[in-house]
């Protein structure tokens, strides 16, 4: 039993540390490939402004928008009222 425990511990160390190393090595490779691919074929758009706007518009749409709309409506109302 004691020997078994020792054996179990060694197994755990060897396979465990091995898996960690293999996994992170694969992750390094995958990440480098990904970065190269992204930078070559899908770079971030240069002009970010309009895109950001588009995102905001569609973004949280269903949930956030009514409030913003109310704010806008209210602002418009107040603006008109002022004139």
């Amino acid at each position: 039993m004691q020997e078994t425990l020792l054996q179990q511990g060694i197994d755990l160390m060897v396979y465990g540390m091995g898996t960690v190393l293999v996994f992170l090595t694969l992750l390094v490779i995958a990440t480098m490939c990904m970065s190269r691919l992204m930078l070559r074929y899908f770079p971030d758009p240069v002009v970010i402004e309009p895109k950001k706007k588009a995102r905001a518009a569609s973004g949280g749409a269903a949930v956030v928008e009514p409030r913003i709309e109310r704010v806008i409506a209210e602002a418009v109302r107040q603006h008109r009222a002022r004139r």
Binding site: Q2, L5, L6, Q8, G9, I10, D11, L12, M13, Y15, G16, M17, T19, V20, L21, V22, F23, L24, T25, L26, L27, V28, A30, T31, M32, M34, S35, M38, L39, F42, P43, D44, R55, S58, G59, G60, V63, V64
Partner: protein, 436 residues
Amino acid sequence: MQNFLRLWHDSGIYHLDMGQGFMMLIGLVLLFLAIRKGFEPLLLVPIGFGCILANIPGAGLSMSAVENALYSGYPEVIGPIAQLLGEQADAGIKAITEAYKLAPAGVQADAYRLATDLGYSNGMLYSFYTVAIGSGVAPLVIFMGVGAMTDFGPLLANPKTLFLGAAAQFGIFATVMGAVGLSVTGVIDFSIADAAAIGIIGGADGPTAIYVASILAPELLGAIAVAAYSYMALVPMIQPPIMRLLTTTDERKIRMEQMRVVSRREKIVFPLILLILVALILPSAAPLLGMFCFGNLMRECGVVERLSDTAQNALINITTIFLGLSVGSKLAADKFLDPKTLGILVLGILAFAIGTAMGVLTAKFMNLFTQNKINPLIGSAGVSAVPMAARVSNKLGLEANPQNYLLMHAMGPNVAGVIGSAIAAGVMISIVSSLT
């Protein structure tokens, strides 16, 4: 008069034993360390307070309804429960508790019903523990929040630093061997599951440690969590001597080149790459790393900011409160005041030290092969302990050369260490459950 007796019988002083008093002191010490010394207060304040609550004599806050009924000591309460479980009423609490644990699910449910009918209920901390940790959900939700707070930019700018995060996990497995050694030599009796759970302290990552301990060694969870968070807070004291010992002044002076800018899209794709690698290679790490990647994707994708914000604030805070109290509930005297705790504390600091050393040495080893030299001081950040370890690297770098800002460079191995210990957690859960 009978009422007075009952009140006295119910009072804490009547029940107080040395162990509980001592544990309440431990709770106060944890609070002192957290509040005065700034030891990871977000966790150690709830844990310390939970420790005091769990050891309130006679309150039974960390016990189930059936346990509370059995510990009441009233024969008219113990009798029917013992009978239901097929035990003699005078068999002793231990034997009856054992019979309860082994009883079929239906009988357990009846015993619970009986205990509640007799006026006993699950202790508050017992309920918190069941929901927050027993279900496994709290560490996962915290990991999601941590993911939503993590910037993988420095890691993506220099992916090789992932190796440092891998190397530092050797502290985990060396500690497993240490625990096994203590057991084999007969000093302290740890099972292989215990050893794995203790090793994870070397991951220097609180939620991962709690998650693994809750699965592999719930009995030791309290001590393991306290050790993990305490040593994370002590990183500025544990790491520097080791780092100085293993590096020359010249090595500490190495200036690393400016990092490249990482694009938004790389940051969005990275958590998905990580997730898919986990899916293909180590599904047992999928809960931890899945939630981590989910949090990070919410952060980076830019279209669900309200969810990301909630994950980083309200949700992680709520979860932290209950997680901390639940961990504290495992600091009951009969569990904590045990030689094992001493073993855990010793092995835990060993784990930090070995992880630190391996990180530094691996950085030096990598410098043998590469042109762009790495400052070996950032290797120590691979143990995780985010962001304390990265700050320690930065501080020692500035000591050697006042222009040498290593913080951003150290964040790479630092977050790599989080991934590394989650992987180690997955592989240990997978192997240990096959061994037992």
